[in-house]
Symmetry: C3
Subunit: 269 residues, 3 copies
C-alpha cells in the first residue's frame, strides 16, 4: 500500500468548487461545539443548519447537500433524531459524515457507533484513538482526546475503509485519508489545535461540506482536511495561545483563496 | 404607507433608558447561539438568563422583564417549555419576542410557529425569508439564512403586523420595523454579520431587552435593531473577518454610549 | 474565625502539580457555557469531557479524575444524568464539585440543589446570592447574576461548609474559600468578568480539575480560584471589553506558569 501526498492543486480546485456552489450542511453535532462548527462552515462560504427535532430531521436531511453526525454528547432523544436523519440521507443519496467522538471508551456510544457504521457513512473522520476503537482495536483514549499518534491508526483506517466502503480520515500531526485502496497523507497538523475544543468537530462539518461534491469522495475529504489544517496552521503561527487562535482560524477560513494555498504550504517550511 | 428613518436621538434615549434600568431577559433560544446571545445582552448592560426546564420556565417568565422565544433548534421537550413560558408571560404581561428561525422550510416548526403567532407576541424579528413564510408567502430560504432581500418582505411584514398586532422587524441590508401603520427604516446592515452565526438571534434577545420598556414598542424595537446594526457595522469595519468580528462586536456593545451614536452614524458615510 | 490570605507559593505548587498530572474532568454543565468551560480546562492543561447521556454518565464519572455538576440549564433528562453521575462518583471516590447556578430564585432547581447537597459534594462554588440561598438565607439575585457582595455571604459559606463537609467557595470581588474551620481570602476579582457569560461556570470546572488532587481540598479549591482570578485580572487589564477579554483570558490560562504568579500578583498593585 503506497501513501501519496495530496496535491495542492487538487485542494485549490475543490475549494474553488465549494465557493462556486455553496452547500447546505445539516449538522447533528455535539452541544459543546455547535458555535465554532457553524462559524467555520459559514466562514468557508457554505451554509450550516442545526436542525435537531426528530419530527423534522428527515425532511431536512433529504433537502440538504450533506449531513454530519457527531456523537460527542449523544443521548437518547438525539440518538433517535440521528437515526431518522441518516435513514433519510441514505434514501435521498445525501452524503453523510460520521464523527465517532470518544468511541471505544464508553459502551453506550460504542454500540450506537457500530449501528451507524452499518448505515454506510460516506466518510468517517476521527482521531487515532477513535479510528482504532471503531475498527475493533485497543486504543489509549479515555475522553475526546486521542492518546495515540495518527500513524498508529493507519492500518486500522485502511481496514475500516475496506470493511465499510467509507472514506476514512484519521487526523493528527499527519492526516491520513484512505478509501482502502489509495491513501493520501497531509503533514499539516499542529499541536495548538488540540488545545481548542471543537476544531476536530468543525473539521468533520467541513468534510461534510466538501462531500457535497459527490465525485471522488476521497479527494473531497482530503481537500477538506487540507484546507482546515492549513488554515489552522496559519492561525496557530500568529496566535498567542488557544484563545486568540479561534478568531484567527475563522478569519483565515474566510479569507483563504485557492491561489493562496501554495504560499501557505511554503510558509510552513 | 410612508417609511420614516428612525431618528438617532430616539436610539440614544432608549439606550440610556436600558442602561439606567437593566432588564432581566429570559432567553429560550437555540442551542447554537446561547453564548453569543448571553454575551451580547450582558455587554449591552442587561441580564440574560437561560432557564429551560418545563418545571420552572413559567415561574421565571413571570418574574423576568422580557422573554425571547427562538425556535432555531426546537424539539419536543423545548417546545413544551416554550409553550409554558409564553403562557406565563402573557398572564404576567411580560413582553415577549418571537424569532421564527427557518420557518417555512420545515413542516414541524412551521406548525409550531403558527401556534405561537396565535399567542400574540409583542414583537417578531426575522430575516426576509422568515417573514415571508410567516405571512404565508413563498420564500427562497432552505435553512436559517435568507435568500431574499428585506425589501421583498416589507409588504409581508406590514401585513403580519396588522394581522397579529405585533411589531414586526425584518432585518437585512436595510431593517424595516413596522406596527402595521407606521414603518421605520434603518440602513445600517452589513454583509459580514451574515457570515457569523447567532448575530440575528442575539439581535432578537436585544429586541426583547428593549421591549421591557413597555411604552411605544415600535420605537423600542427600532432602537434595538439600530444599536445592534450600528455596533455590528462599527465592528465589521475594524474586523479582519467573521472571527475577529465577534470580540469587536461584543466590545462595541459594551462601550457604545448614547452620545457616540451620531458619530458612528456619520463614520458610515 | 480568622481569615488567611492564600499564599502565592501554594498556588504555584498546585498549578505545577496539575500540569504534571493533567486530570480528566467530566463536566455536566449548562448549555450556555460548554465551549468556554472546555476551552478554559484545555488551556490550563487538563482534559474536559462533556458526556451527558444517562446511559453512560455513571461509567464515565467513575473513570474520570473529577466531576462537575452545574445546574444552570438543568431539565428533567439532564437531572437524571446528574443523579447517576454523582452516585457513581461517590462510589468510585471521584471528587465532585457543585455549581448551584441561580439556586433560590426558582423552586424546581432549589429542590434539586438540596437533594444534591445531601449527596456530599467535595466542593461547592457559587456567587454570594447562590451561597446565601443554599444555606437557607435570603438573597437578592433573580437570575444567574449575584446582587450581593461576597462579604455578605461569608458567614453563610462557613455554615454551609460545616453542615455539608464540603469546601465552599463564594466568589466575587474577594473570593472566600472555607472548610468551615479555616478560611482563605483572595482579593483578585475584577468586574469585567461579571459581564462575560460562563466565567464563573468555567471556574467551577477548574475547581473540579484541581480537586482531582485529593489531598487538602481546601488548598486545591483556593488554588483553582486564584489561578482563574489572576488570569482573568491579567486579561481584563489588556482587554477593550468583554469580547476581547475571552481570547485573552484563555491565552493567559494557557501561558501562565507557576513562576509567573508572583509577578502577576505584583502587577495588580
Amino acid at each position: 500500500m503506497t501513501i501519496t501526498p495530496f496535491p495542492v492543486a487538487s485542494i485549490a480546485e475543490r475549494l474553488a468548487q465549494l465557493r462556486a456552489a455553496p452547500p447546505l450542511v445539516h449538522c447533528l453535532t455535539n452541544e459543546v461545539v455547535q458555535e465554532i462548527t457553524a462559524n467555520a462552515v459559514l466562514a468557508l462560504g457554505a451554509s450550516p443548519a442545526m436542525v435537531v427535532a426528530e419530527e423534522e430531521v428527515a425532511e431536512f436531511a433529504a433537502a440538504a447537500d450533506a449531513l454530519l453526525i457527531n456523537i460527542g454528547t449523544v443521548y437518547s432523544a438525539r440518538e433517535a433524531a440521528m437515526r431518522a436523519a441518516v435513514s433519510a440521507a441514505n434514501e435521498a443519496a445525501t452524503p453523510w459524515v460520521f464523527d465517532p467522538v470518544a468511541v471505544g471508551a464508553l459502551a453506550y456510544r460504542s454500540r450506537f457507533a457500530r449501528e451507524l457504521l452499518e448505515q454506510k457513512p460516506t466518510a468517517i473522520r476521527g482521531n487515532a484513538s477513535e479510528i482504532l476503537a471503531l475498527s475493533g482495536r485497543n486504543a489509549a483514549g479515555r475522553g475526546a482526546d486521542s492518546a495515540d499518534s495518527s500513524d498508529v491508526a493507519l492500518d486500522a483506517a485502511i481496514q475500516l475503509a475496506q470493511e465499510t466502503d467509507a472514506v476514512v480520515a484519521v487526523t493528527g500531526a499527519t492526516d491520513y485519508i484512505t478509501d482502502g485502496e489509495k491513501t493520501y497523507s497531509l503533514p499539516y497538523g499542529n499541536i495548538l489545535m488540540t488545545r481548542v475544543t471543537g476544531t476536530g468537530c468543525a473539521l468533520s462539518a467541513v468534510v461534510a461540506a466538501f462531500c457535497a461534491q459527490k465525485d471522488h469522495t476521497l479527494d473531497a475529504v482530503a481537500a477538506a482536511c487540507a484546507v482546515v489544517a492549513l488554515a489552522g496552521g496559519d492561525a496557530a503561527r500568529r496566535a498567542q495561545g488557544p484563545g486568540s487562535f479561534v478568531p484567527l482560524f475563522i478569519d483565515t477560513l474566510y479569507r483563504i483563496r485557492p491561489d493562496h494555498l501554495e504560499e501557505i504550504v511554503h510558509a510552513r517550511a
